[in-house]
Symmetry: C2
Subunit: 701 residues, 2 copies
Amino acid sequence: MHCGCRAGLFLAAVLALWALKPAAVFGDEGLWLFNNVPKEQLKKNHNFDAEQKWLDHVQLSSVRFNSGGSGSFVSAEGLVMTNHHVAADSLQKMGKEGYNPYRDGFHAKRLADEHKCEGIELNVLINMTDVTKRVNEAVKPGTTPEDAAKARRAVMNTIEKESTDKTKLKSQVVTLFQGGAYHLYRFKKYTDVRLVFAPEQQIAFYGGDPDNFEYPRYDLDAAFFRVYEGGKPAKTPHYLKWSTKNLTDNELVFVSGHPGRTNRLATLADLAYQRDVGFPSMLQRLNRLEVLLATYSDRSEENARQAKELFFGVQNSRKARIGGLAALLSPELWAFKSKEEARFKKAAEEREELKGAKSAWQRIAASQKVRASNIKKYTLLERRAGAFTEYFGFARTLVRAGEERTKANKDRLREYSDANLESLQEDLVADNPIYPAYETALLTDSLTYLAGELGSTDPLVRKVLAGKSPRARARELVNGTKLGDAKVRKALYEGGKKAIDESTDPMIVLARLIDPEARAVRRIIEAEDEVTRQAYGDVARVQFALDGARTYPDATFTLRLSFGTVKGYEEEGKKIPFQTDFAGMYKRSAAHKNKGAFELPKRWLEAKKDLDLKVPFNFVCTVDIIGGNSGSPVINRDAEVVGLIFDGNIQSLAWDFRYDDKEGRSVAVAATGIIEALRKVYKANDLADELLGKKAAVSRR
Amino acid sequence: MHCGCRAGLFLAAVLALWALKPAAVFGDEGLWLFNNVPKEQLKKNHNFDAEQKWLDHVQLSSVRFNSGGSGSFVSAEGLVMTNHHVAADSLQKMGKEGYNPYRDGFHAKRLADEHKCEGIELNVLINMTDVTKRVNEAVKPGTTPEDAAKARRAVMNTIEKESTDKTKLKSQVVTLFQGGAYHLYRFKKYTDVRLVFAPEQQIAFYGGDPDNFEYPRYDLDAAFFRVYEGGKPAKTPHYLKWSTKNLTDNELVFVSGHPGRTNRLATLADLAYQRDVGFPSMLQRLNRLEVLLATYSDRSEENARQAKELFFGVQNSRKARIGGLAALLSPELWAFKSKEEARFKKAAEEREELKGAKSAWQRIAASQKVRASNIKKYTLLERRAGAFTEYFGFARTLVRAGEERTKANKDRLREYSDANLESLQEDLVADNPIYPAYETALLTDSLTYLAGELGSTDPLVRKVLAGKSPRARARELVNGTKLGDAKVRKALYEGGKKAIDESTDPMIVLARLIDPEARAVRRIIEAEDEVTRQAYGDVARVQFALDGARTYPDATFTLRLSFGTVKGYEEEGKKIPFQTDFAGMYKRSAAHKNKGAFELPKRWLEAKKDLDLKVPFNFVCTVDIIGGNSGSPVINRDAEVVGLIFDGNIQSLAWDFRYDDKEGRSVAVAATGIIEALRKVYKANDLADELLGKKAAVSRR
């Protein structure tokens, strides 16, 4: 599954953020910015004219989920399509003992039944402005990395604040080409987001972990939300119409979405770091969490319900990381990258105008060493792996919000800048359920992990454990804290630094205790980010000089347009057709006696007689995507929805480092399959009619 | 579950083997040697006379499983009782696609149906001789640790060979008090071992991972084998009679079995090593394996069948290690051990006759440092975690057997000494099933682990991977090897060094490639074992001087007698009665809707109407046990079977380091429950009658 959701949070700490792009373009490779679409290539290879009107329409129809993931408007009345697994966090939070919409699905037959989800925010990119010059001028030559990082943060915070004050739009300075460019993005923000429809997780994720990142597939990984304004469905004139035609082999298709992170410009030293440090240590943590969550879930149905979404996210990340690590261990990648790096280095040596870049590779290598020796502590303290409970997350946010808000906007940590505070506060006070026994299990395990990784004689570990065993300490903290109550959090947040300083809530006390060391290691990592940012800026210059317009920035969870063709592939001598149908799904279920991951929901067994079994269900295409693209619409030349991205195959996991369309494919739900399922399985004819433009939602009272 | 079975193999590498015993005796603490039973304590506390005849009878009725685990003779015709989970390996190997006795149970109604298990060996301890003087004299003072280890190995190999030649009994020099004593043990060996009865794994392990190491419990964790000689049931005049009486509160009971390993004399430095290095790194590997096996199992029913026993073993070890680590992280243990260590050190400082021991603690601490920096490589190369497939195990044995057999017996690695070769050969050529796709999955993962841990630029890792990715290399090795064929292994073994040297089998080539480095790191570890052995010998001397006869050696998988009382306990303010009954089992099932780990086998649902629901099913007692005791009989004053050890509760996991009967308990199946289940659920009246001495087995044609 291609989400960048909750489990993705763990990854951020370990995966390098600082790689840019280049390398020779391969087939339809490319995660293109909407203001830099390769129009010539589209014209030449696909006879497609990328007109500005078409591009603007698609951009304004595209939606970003703050929880990680993509979506699109699919009706004029604010209807948003995304993946079930992007909606998972909301579905999880809606549930309670005895009520499990994540597992069993959800369907609001009337507008009034649409379920308002707490703490979810959707953003639509309105416009982009290049602010590279202003950002770079703020960093004076010769500044130390730590001061450079500070200066850069300051100017970015300031630009955002100015923009927000002026436009009232959510404003964000995004880093592209890793510091090769900085753009100011302005978003329209929707915070009243309601769930309309989601199927059972069993069909959304049919085939479960065994089939995840595999193909052929049979998944209805779809969900629909609706955004509201002023208590009414928002008016969204820019939305994607629905195609009722089946796809044809080699048809040109586009994907508009928010790929989270790629590392395609990574140097050999950077790749070696990820292969030897980043990925193995991340997998170690994911394995640990997966076992913990499986164990917790096995104890009862209610436990399983509580842990379900995180469990899914962890399994998904684990399988993705295993695929990524396999790519990092493949000699083919190294052969290719070595050649590229030699080509770049040669140019830097030989061309006078590039000579400043000569030391870039060495600077990155040196920086990776510093990173390698700090990443463990950074992950445990700053990324919270050592106190992995929601309570501590609240406490951390409160403690830092207390302190940061006493500073000038420009001096704050990025996530506490004025431009970000509103979203942060909404997230903090969202009244979502929290389960003390579950949190105790997570905290016991993470305190044990902390002690194991830093050593139980480490002075900070001793202070954190306070002379108790991890289990006893976790119980004491969870039983003692009041932060599970949204009202308590709100009061502390509003009370500011004074209220936080005076608080004796044990979780707040713990967050205060850890904060100095967490901030210290964050400063080290951010200084190294600045070193690599500058070095990669140089590498990008070389790349640009050699490859020119063929370059696009590495993914950074900003909006991109990709394109490619609907196409099957060959795997170990076996031809795999581009699409599957409902008949294939029932066959797969029968082959596994309808058991385990291959069990169909009851509703689907009963609907077999009604379904047209030949309707296409899932398909693959060569479009370039990565985690974060989950929920992206697949559209045709006419900007009509023909599918919904939800995954890539195993081979596509290597796209993190290098795109290759020999076997690598994106996997999508077919638009025709969605309509067929909505009508025949879920009797959701109103929703299907809204998608097809046949019936207004407001008529559904 | 208290086995020391296959999963236990992984543990050996990380858990210190060299700790002995002492510390103040607590309640009925003690893992007593049969030639050193605390008769006075038994008389005083329990008014029991431990007569030699009674002791001899119990000793000769006790059985050790070479696969790890304990058992006992329970009829004059070679019937052996043990746990289902000790029989798991045999049950796993009996299965094939579509036939799953491990899951579904097994019952031989006639003698002719009793199933011969390949590669299983049972040992009965016949006698013990003290050879301490001879072993110690072979190691000259002032020898380097490496030479000392060699000399000690040589004399042990020689003593065993002399004994085997003279008595024809399997002979083994066992290390007790970590070098405080060496005893020559002689065993009668049974290699024709046939399975008679095993229930469904679902009832043997009722409650699954959630209930493992917990109490109350409802498990029929029992299985019966029969040993044969000359194709007929062996005559076993020493066997335990069966009690038909229910247990009473506070009743005295005994356990005779083979506790695998305790670390109760471990110094603080040793405990710190285990807390900071040993346990965390072991858990890391177990988590990794658990996720891999869960993933493999989820793909199909047949996959699940193949991986079942290892999966169970890994989960079991994981839960045990988490419990052990929790004990190691508890301040209570450290407070107690610190006091003990101070007491010992004081005595070593003050008493002239103990002054040689003064440096012991420092020597152990220094040795742990060497161990900490070598244990990763040792685990990966020598313990085979880096090439974790049965094929490589065969290749390793063949390569080493080829080389070691060219050496004089005294110079060989211990497992290739003449006294051990016969058992080794039987294990090697046992014709058990092997599944290439399963082995490929395990090998891919372990090669990836190897690359991650040693770094993929490590010269040996490069050679092992041979320029391929782990997945490609694993496929090539598994597809290329012929070692899955028992006849091929037999031929290579018999061909000796020449045949091995000439073999081009890729797995043999790999084993040859790894062997020099594996042997080198083994030499380092064994030299450190010698250092700690000598140092712990000193610590033991101090302990003995202070505490005298209250001491017993730490567990070493040698036969021990423990005793205690049948007794409930209090946990978080809740009273937990000493026994459960069948009614409780049905209640637990109903509370979980008979789902997941709490699902009862169909046969048990149907038998509810026939069972006397008040018959005791499981019970707890204070008897001192540890992993390896699985399958041990629980007997009363009259040496009658009243139960069958299969587990300890969570609190008992701390017994690895310190016994405490406040909440810690051993968990057993009640003898009465076994008979009731055999008759009412399984209609195994013949077997029940044999246990009760009512009907001879030979009548069952």
